[in-house]
Symmetry: C2
Subunit: 358 residues, 2 copies
């Protein structure tokens, strides 16, 4: 029987609750496919700051690196919001992405038919939306140097960052995006600001060059401001979107809100080798933490992505995805996705319902 080691990073707020439920689901789905897991829980984010004084302890990163996949809950909270930069939970997350070299962030936006009414978009616009944002995750303005504060000639303070991409960084994320589009509906839209930015001109040139390796995928280009409009005007026009780190941050969050239920959306961050990082796209929701109210489905679906993209265990992944649809069809809803006529459940009970159908 196969066995994998999984690093669990519960993090802050509702993180521990959703991770505990998702761990059980992952474990059970694996067992039904002859897969064994060993789990190791490590501190990260605000709770690591409180415990150890840094947002990503060395032991956490090295445990993560040595495992087969990493499942993260959520990080951050009011308590650490005013910390200096190197002591912010978010900095720990950026260090983790860089440390694991997970340059490709896959963020699916799926409107579940059972939840289409939760969208603020009209039903005919939202229903059937099924798109994937492939975001470059370890480059661009997030990591570019030089960066910092300085004084200019006149003694005035300035703050600055560098948006920079090298050819190989664009090439590798483009390949992931073309592969993704090929497995989906065969359409890739590359989003940039090549009418203004040199970094985007290089981006467009390299994406266009890599396209010759994928003649079966239909490539288009769109400016980021237009993409922000088109996601509202007609989100169904998109299959796979590939874009840089900062545009991907903005557009993937915008896209996720089309569903009206961001408690449902998972993500996968992958590198060339080594373990992938899997996490829900929602935050740590400190206001409902510890009350068994959190929606665990985004983390459970992240566990499914872990199986599919991280370990290549498609059957176990399918079990989880189907179990989620099953629970929705049976009318089980946490508070964030509740509507009249359905059954309101807590985080744990939702987990138990999923286990029944895995």
């Amino acid at each position: 029987s196969k066995s994998y080691s999984i690093t669990l990073l519960p993090g802050d707020g509702i993180g521990p609750e959703v991770i505990s439920v998702a761990k059980n689901v992952l474990n059970f789905a694996g067992s039904l496919e002859g897969i064994e897991f060993s789990f190791q829980e490590m501190p990260m984010g605000g709770s690591a700051l409180d415990l150890i004084g840094v947002p990503l302890p060395e032991e956490t990163l090295s445990a993560a690196k040595q495992s087969d996949a990493v499942l993260l809950g959520a990080i951050g909270g009011y308590k650490w919001d005013r910390n200096e930069k190197h002591l912010k939970p978010e900095t720990g997350l950026l260090q983790l992405r860089a440390g694991l070299e997970v340059f490709a962030n896959l963020r699916p936006t799926t409107v579940f038919p059972q939840l289409v009414d939760a969208s603020t978009l009209k039903k005919e616009v939202a229903e059937g939306v099924d798109l994937m944002v492939v975001r470059e995750l370890t480059g661009g303005i997030y990591f570019g140097k030089p960066r910092g504060f300085d004084t200019d000639d006149t003694g005035e303070e300035i703050g600055y960052n560098t948006e920079v991409y090298a050819s190989h960084e664009v090439d590798r994320i483009a390949r992931v995006a073309f592969e993704t589009a090929r497995k989906r509906y065969g359409k890739l839209c590359s989003v940039d600001k090549a009418n203004v930015l040199e970094a985007s001109m290089l981006w467009r040139k390299r994406v266009t060059a890599i396209a010759t390796e994928y003649p079966d995928v239909e490539l288009s280009h769109m400016y980021v401001d237009n993409a922000a409009m088109q996601l509202i005007r007609d989100p169904k026009q998109f299959d796979t979107i590939v874009t840089n780190n900062i545009f991907g941050d903005i557009l993937s969050d915008e896209a996720s809100m089309i569903t009206g239920s961001i408690g449902m959306l998972p993500s996968a961050s992958l590198g060339a080798k080594g373990p992938g990082l899997f996490e829900p796209i929602h935050g740590s929701a400190p206001d409902i933490a510890g009350q068994d109210k959190a929606n665990p489905l985004a983390t459970i679906l992240s566990a499914a992505m872990l199986l599919k993209y991280g370990l290549g265990e498609e059957n176990a992944a399918k079990r989880i995805e189907n179990a989620v649809l099953d629970a929705l069809n049976k009318g089980f809803r946490t508070g964030d996705i509740f509507s009249a006529g359905n059954k309101l459940v807590g985080c744990k009970e939702m987990g138990e319902e999923i286990l029944k159908s895995v």
Copy 2:
């Protein structure tokens, strides 16, 4: 009687058509308030490229600088899309903004009750939206240096840009935003990415400092990814938004699409002194150019902003705004905003209807 000189920059595509109509409306509204205009039409964008070989001829910039206000139609088109950077119509627009030093771009998003059904958002979400994006327009990554292409240590090509803000640049746009919020509903939301970018940290620090001059305005801060979500989830939560050049480009376009009718939305770009630049936010729509199909209302409303923000002629501005509401109430619609039960009109006829109510 007062008199003002106006530089008209018709530009490309539908630009000449909407400018011709808006000019008549501006002229007539002025005359009713004892205001005289002298108009000078100058080439800009793709048509200037064809005529003179550059997207912003020197004579155009100096005419604009010497006038009291500048009204621009639209620039760009397929024909010049593949031009080198310095020969792109867009580059001319950036040169014009820099040349006029119009650092404050005001972009109102108003959902007209008559057109609320055009939105892809649910009626209860879209109706009553009335927000203003104040975008920094002459700084940040659009103009930051160093920028360009280079090869790194390994001989690989890189493309790079610099996101940079100096204190005084943030201070002056913050003051415009606080003044704007004060004249509106008293709420200002500053959007940044201060959890990651140093340029945003300085931005947040300076906006917070300037807030002490405006104790009557309620200031909040939001990360750009969250703002992209909140604009879809509940756009009515916003009054005035202030943000940097690139985030403003993305968010103002996203916000405009909430209305479903971007053919209605004007903009104003203002400096510390000198003429302001006024233009519709829509593009040059080359596909319908020359067919008398364009919606001139965004340009007509830009002429109203020119009167109000550029010349301080509030009465004449109000005349135009009311005339637009009147024409909508009477059911006149160009193709882009047409719905059953209304009267389909062309660009010119819409202009004539507006003239009747000015």
